[in-house]
């Protein structure tokens, strides 16, 4: 019995701690609410395509170059619905890696030229956000909210504050129920 329990526990721990090993490291993308990089193109209005969608969307569109292999597209529809698209040039990735990323929700684009990007394969991922289409936006081409490190927090911050503790409440409730159940089972098995 002991052997079975320890085998099951070991298997669970092994599976839980297992992480797939990949040859790539996905780029970091900022959010459209605080974009970074160099503004590549900006349209205040018009119809725009969104990768993975089969129709055009009306609104404003901005694309920022983040690095040689990554871009950020921020589309803001006239109705305030926004779509952030993270673009990743994947010329150097193997087909296995690309297949693995597609399973994680990335969309494969065989040739970026059709989207105004380099003539190379790309992966793209969409995330929704809400925005206020600025009627009086500055057309100077400068990134208004161009980010810099905030004094005192900068790159040292590894994550955002944990501002919820539902896990704590659920864990305590579960523990309480487990204790009562255990107590009742013991009493009956007496």
């Amino acid at each position: 019995m002991k052997y079975i329990i320890s085998t099951i526990l070991s298997a669970v721990i092994l599976v839980a701690s297992a992480q797939a090993a990949f040859a790539y490291s996905a780029p970091d993308y900022p959010t459209c609410s605080n974009p970074e990089g160099i503004l590549k193109v900006r349209y205040d209005e018009g119809d725009h395509g969104i990768v993975g969608e089969d129709h055009l969307f009306s609104g404003s569109d901005e694309v920022y170059t983040l690095s040689d292999t990554s871009l950020l597209q921020c589309f803001c529809a006239d109705n305030g619905g926004g779509i952030q698209t993270n673009w990743w040039k994947v010329s150097d990735l193997s087909q296995n890696d690309i297949d693995s990323l597609i399973k994680q929700g990335w969309i494969f684009v065989a040739d970026g030229a059709g989207w105004g990007l380099d003539n190379a394969p790309y992966l793209a991922k969409n995330n929704d956000y809400s925005c206020k289409d600025s009627e009086n936006s500055d057309d100077s081409g400068e990134v208004l909210s161009s980010s810099t490190e905030a004094p005192g927090i900068g790159g040292a911050v590894l994550g955002l504050a944990a501002t919820g503790d539902n896990k704590f409440v659920i864990a305590w409730l579960s523990l309480g129920v487990a204790c009562i159940s255990g107590g009742l089972i013991l009493r009956r098995s007496k």
């Binding site: 959010t31 925005c131 980010s147 501002t163 919820g164 503790d165 539902n166 305590w172």
Partner: protein
């Protein structure tokens, strides 16, 4: 064996009582609200605040009226408060040029309603001298906890307010508002 059985039941009841109180504490919406900014200012005046310090946050459309408490980030630890909204004091003060970062628990008594925020709504910051500044929500977005780009400073005058969201608090709901 019978003693152990009784002990387990008692401990279980105790734990559930604590968990229930914790749940009530986090979800009683009237626990922290302040009804008049002036009253709140008087209270804060006793604790050596500067006139320009932010002390209250109001989002009328969401029924949110909360005290602002200064907080630090050091050694990978975020100070949080159960008494209102935390203002990260290493960022600029709300109303100054740059990105002022505020965050709070997603409890019913604090920022549970924040994910209902919509662009166009107003966030009002109340200062210790009784003055106020209005910020218009321009973006809302759900991000992962490691997306620290929202904390970076900006050339505009904005506040970034966020709370936990998603399954088991696995995401952060971020509201960006620009000075009107």
């Amino acid at each position: 064996m019978q003693l152990l059985s009784k002990l387990l039941v008692v401990i279980g009841v105790l734990i559930i009582t604590i968990a229930s109180y914790t749940y009530w504490q986090r979800n009683n919406p009237n626990r922290l609200k302040f009804n008049a900014a002036a009253e709140y200012v008087v209270v804060e005046k006793n604790t050596q605040v500067q006139d320009s310090d932010p002390i209250g946050l109001v989002i009328q459309d969401l029924g949110i009226r909360l005290p602002i408490i200064e907080a630090n980030y050091f050694e990978d630890r975020w100070e949080t408060t159960s008494e209102g909204v935390s203002y990260l004091n290493s960022t600029v003060q709300p109303g100054e040029i740059g990105n002022s970062v505020l965050y709070g628990h997603n409890w019913g008594s604090i920022l549970k309603n924040l994910p209902k925020a919509k662009p166009g709504q107003t966030i009002q910051i109340i200062y210790a001298d009784g003055s106020t500044k209005d910020f218009e929500i321009t973006y809302t977005q759900e991000v992962t906890p490691n997306d620290t780009s929202i904390l970076k400073n900006t050339k505009d005058t904005r506040i970034t307010l966020y709370t936990c969201s998603g399954f088991l608090d696995s995401k952060r709901f971020v509201v960006t508002a620009l000075l009107k």
